[in-house]
């Protein structure tokens, strides 16, 4: 593109979205080849997924607990505390689970992926792989992308389960709601298709988006300490914006 044109920030923004799109196509193109490096994918699932478990579980627990507390207070105004289980479950499955998990993963794993790839670029490791006839797209980018795609829905499920547990803990164990009411209302309202699967689709999309942004930012990070630092920040900022925007769009389409 013309150098003058590139200076305009709007054009630059659009161009970087385009770059990201092209990168996405390149990553998809490298996916078949990256199946050979499934061990690397496995390692990344470990890193993105398993290593995020603690934070995701803790946050899920507290989100469920605080939701139960808040909702209990609000619902008791209308005498509708029996709906607590339902409301906690629906909010978790449809919105909070996918979104908060995605934000947590962007902060916890996305930044790490960006910094790691950025440093690999800065220390010529990506070039070195290329020179050893190992496509860094297939060996570095695709496995991380795939790992995000795999790990995110699983993490969101764990988050939701912990949230339900937290909600149950507060609602039933602490505030003394009836256990059967809690579960009964939940199970009669929550639908496998509309709620759990829709939430799952969301988190798969978020997983793809977060890991794509993280990998892209790392891959295109200027090979300097400042460049890597900025790219890491951008990963969090862009991921958060895109997650919430996609969430809105997907919710609008799903309901």
């Amino acid at each position: 593109m013309n150098a003058n044109l590139r200076r305009n920030w709007l054009v630059q923004g659009i161009a970087s979205v385009g770059d990201c799109g092209l990168f996405f196509v390149a990553v998809l193109g490298a996916l078949p080849k990256s199946l050979r490096y499934w061990r690397e994918t496995c390692r990344q699932v470990w890193f993105v997924g398993a290593m995020s478990l603690v934070i995701v579980m803790t946050c899920g627990l507290f989100v469920g607990m605080v939701m139960a507390l808040q909702l209990y207070y609000t619902l008791s105004i209308f005498g509708g505390t029996a709906a607590l289980g339902t409301v906690v479950a629906l909010s978790l499955f449809r919105e909070l689970g996918p979104v908060i998990t995605a934000l947590l993963v962007a902060g916890r794993a996305g930044t790490a992926v960006t910094a790691e790839i950025g440093l690999m670029r800065a220390t010529d490791q990506l070039d070195a792989m290329g020179m050893m006839a190992v496509d860094p797209l297939a060996y570095v980018a695709s496995p991380r992308f795939l790992a995000g795609l795999i790990a995110m829905p699983l993490l969101a499920s764990v988050f939701n389960a912990m949230g339900i547990f937290g909600g149950h803990l507060v609602g039933v164990t602490w505030l003394g709601l009836d256990n059967g009411t809690f579960w009964g209302n939940m199970t009669s309202t929550v639908s496998l298709h509309k709620d759990i699967l829709d939430g799952l689709y969301k988190s798969i999309v978020f997983g793809g988006v977060v890991s794509l942004i993280a990998v892209f930012q790392g891959y295109t990070a200027p090979p300097t300490s400042e460049g890597v630092a900025y790219s890491t920040t951008r990963t969090v900022v862009f991921s958060s914006i895109v997650i919430l925007a996609f969430d809105f769009v997907m919710t609008a389409f799903m309901t």
């Binding site: 699983l154 499920s157 389960a161 709620d195």
Partner: protein, 172 residues
Amino acid sequence: MNPRPSYAIGTGLFILLGFAALAYLATQTTSVANIHSGDSYTVKARFQNIGQLKARAPVKIAGVRIGDVQSIRLEPQRMDALVVLSIDKQYNDIPDDSSAAIFTSGLLGDQYVGIEPGGSPTFLKSGDELVLTQSAMSIENLIGKFMVNGGPKSSSASSAPASGDAPASGKP
């Protein structure tokens, strides 16, 4: 070939955990959970109007949960609702002339089936039917009554259904 099998194990565990959580959510928090069988026996009851009663709603005696609603369906020829209650095996000494009613916990809360024990020396068995039933109180009817009767006197009555001893006059 790879010197680090620990990743593979850890990743495998993580994936298993994720799917376990997903399976848990799918089976325990959705309607899938209502298909269950435990150590319990079933008793039938017919209601003119079940209001907002839902499957898995609790069944209580004297406020203590003894089981839950297993299924609700319409009896086409009689045009009433057949509710199947699943009651814990340990409560096998409920008199067979007991009555069932649908109550609301709180003003707008969910509904449950309350069983008022009778005095018969014989007990309910699996497959028996509770003959004496009382339909759900519908809020529209209550409001309707309030409008017709008017006056501040009946406003105190609006809390009556919550305690569960209102007469079953709420027929359409």
